[in-house]
Amino acid sequence: MTAVPGGPRPIKYRQLSHTADLGLRIWGVTPEELFENAGEALTAVLTDRRRLRLKETEEIAVEAPDLEALLVAWLNRLLYLYDVDAFLGREFQILELQPQFLKARARGETYDPERHLAGTAIKAATYHHLEIKNRNGRWEATVILDL
């Protein structure tokens, strides 16, 4: 599926309501794009992504037993970077994606409570109702976050 030039951009992700927690539904034309959009969706819960500048770059490598678990591991690594370095990614680039391994680059900056909106804290991405599927040539993932 390619976006029509000048047409509406295809939706990257949507937040799903869940009583205690929060779900994310993420889409992508390729698995790589799906993972990139998942990174954006995660940041969007934590803060207003548009206010982040592209000042720092983080190189990330993650392993997991399968593609679904890899998505959880990827999101939890981003949460780790936030916890440890206060780093929040605005743009994500998947450099290599295997079913059990990924290499990525995240660009963004250190969270500054003076300039950045404090969104909702996330404890972790979970395996509950975790799913990645290909629907009519488009990739779709569902992840539940523990808040």
């Binding site: 009583t19 205690a20 037993p65 780790y80 916890d83 440890v84 404090a118 909702t120 804290a121 972790a124």
Partner: protein, 482 residues
């Protein structure tokens, strides 16, 4: 969402999910008729049934009246497993290992703090880092020190000048879960924990100044050192990023272990390993380490609560009398001895959003509460009230000594934000006499009182069913939210 789990009413407070399919035992849900309609809207009852399929489960798979949809185990879930065939599951504890609540009393009466609450709240807010990714700039732990914290828990904090020895006697497990092995906690987890000790974090965590509005049992309240009009403080937080990482690390271990030991999982988040396996033992030791970090965290925050009161009210510790009544864990798995079919048996009791409620005379009930039963602390939402209860013999025999842990959400965070839109929640609460300071507007709005079940309804079920006993009701005056 549709819910087709069969349910049979046993009495006014008890509902049974009959054993069927792959369930190894029945489900037992504590709820009132009124609460049930809401519970049936989501998948939490299915989750109770799912837990019942796990190997080595003893007694029913239970849910306390604040049950709601979690991930894997329901929130409000209690499940016990024997040590021979049973399992331990990180998902049955939760990401916030040893999230818990502590209650402090004071020598102050409400009129003595009237007009000072705003200042108290601002001082607490300044002294206790709160909010998204909160960290301490003044206290960065080295790895060896962090390991000490995880080994000794609240005892480490006391030894380093945060509080006094007497505090430890008023904490579940004396503020230290035995068997903790910090060597089994990953570097990732330690990275996350090293500057988060003594921070509140975000979400539903808080420090609340309140007062005793109502006493239900004069005798027990007296023995707990509580009386009407008295100023109290509640601290609610857990093991922060360190605990989240330990949970995530061991879920990965358990996904492999479940396959290795041939455990069939209805939901990946229920992944687990036999208690007798190396994986199971390693998780318990790492979980204990994270739990001890949480005990130390609440102990240090208590120290800053005491300092904040001293600063604002210009009073010494003796006059303030900020003493710990009790500290309970409500996300934990513990090895305990229980009677099973008349025989003493060691079990691993998972409490995920559930509180231990041991009766008078139990060896693990602290000395000070041998006659009253162990204090149980049930925080409500920030606009209403919280409850103090005590554990009972009924809880010990029926729920492995467990009861509810809080109000439980009724509204998703999205729905809460929608309801809060265009309103100033801080102003509304102020009009009700409650000063709230939150690190971010979103956290305050998501935590609006309407988003929660009325904690009183939850407590009524626990009290009515006899799995704990109401002692006092506390009303908030000032709250700092993460």
């Amino acid at each position: 969402m549709a819910n087709n789990v069969k349910l049979r009413q046993l009495d006014d407070y008890r509902w049974e999910i009959p054993r069927e399919g792959k369930m190894r035992t029945r489900g037992l849900v504590f709820a009132s008729q009124r609460m049930l309609a809401k519970i049936q809207e989501d998948q939490s009852l299915q989750q109770v049934a799912n837990v019942a399929t796990l190997p080595g489960i003893e007694g029913p798979s239970m849910a306390m009246p604040d049950i709601h949809w979690g991930y894997g185990f329901p929130i409000g879930g209690v499940a016990a497993f024997n040590l021979e065939e049973g399992v331990v599951s990180p998902g049955g504890v939760g990401y916030d290992i040893n999230c818990g609540v502590r209650l402090l009393r004071t020598h102050l009466q409400k009129p003595e703090v009237d007009g000072r609450i705003e200042e108290l709240v601002n001082t607490l807010f300044r002294n206790i880092p709160s909010g998204l990714g909160s960290r301490r700039k003044d206290l960065k732990l080295t790895i060896p020190t962090l390991r000490e914290v995880m080994r000794y828990g609240a005892g480490w904090a006391v030894k380093n000048g945060y509080g006094h020895q007497g505090d430890l006697e008023h904490i579940e497990a004396n503020g230290r879960i035995p068997g903790a092995d910090p060597e089994l906690v990953s570097d990732f987890a330690m990275d996350r924990g090293k500057d988060q000790l003594g921070t509140l974090g975000s979400g539903n965590h808080f420090v609340e100044v309140g007062y005793v509005e109502e006493v239900f049992d004069d005798d027990i309240a007296y023995q707990l050192g509580l009386h009407r009009g008295q100023v109290t403080v509640i601290v609610h937080t857990g093991s922060r990023g360190l605990g989240h990482q330990v949970c995530d690390d061991y879920i990965k271990v358990m996904l492999k272990a479940a396959a290795k030991y041939g455990i069939e999982l209805p939901d990946r988040q229920l992944c687990c390993a036999p208690l007798s396996s190396p994986e199971g033992k390693r998780y318990l030791a790492a979980m204990a380490a994270a739990a001890n970090f949480a005990f130390a965290n609440r102990q240090m925050i208590t120290h800053w609560v005491r300092e904040s009161f001293e600063q604002v009210l210009q009073m010494g510790p003796k006059d303030l009398g900020l003493e710990l009544i009790y500290d309970v864990a409500h996300n934990i798995a513990k090895i305990e001895e229980h009677l099973v079919n008349g025989k003493k048996k060691k079990l691993c009791v998972h409490r995920k959003g559930a509180t231990r409620a041991f009766p008078p005379g139990h060896p693990e009930t602290p000395a000070a509460y041998q006659k009253t039963g162990q204090p149980v602390l049930i925080p409500g939402d920030m606009g209403r009230y919280s409850f103090v209860l005590v554990g009972t013999e009924q809880a010990l025999t029926e729920t492995f000594g467990s009861t509810c842990h809080g109000a439980g959400r009724e509204m998703s965070r999205h729905a809460a934000l929608k309801v809060a839109r265009g309103r100033s929640i801080v102003q509304e609460l102020k009009a009700k006499g409650i000063i709230v300071r939150g690190a971010g507007r979103a956290t305050v709005d998501e935590e609006i009182p309407e988003a929660y079940k009325d904690v009183e309804a939850v407590v009524e079920v626990a009290h009515g069913a006899g799995i704990s006993k109401k002692v006092a009701k506390l009303k908030p005056l000032g709250v700092i939210k993460g």
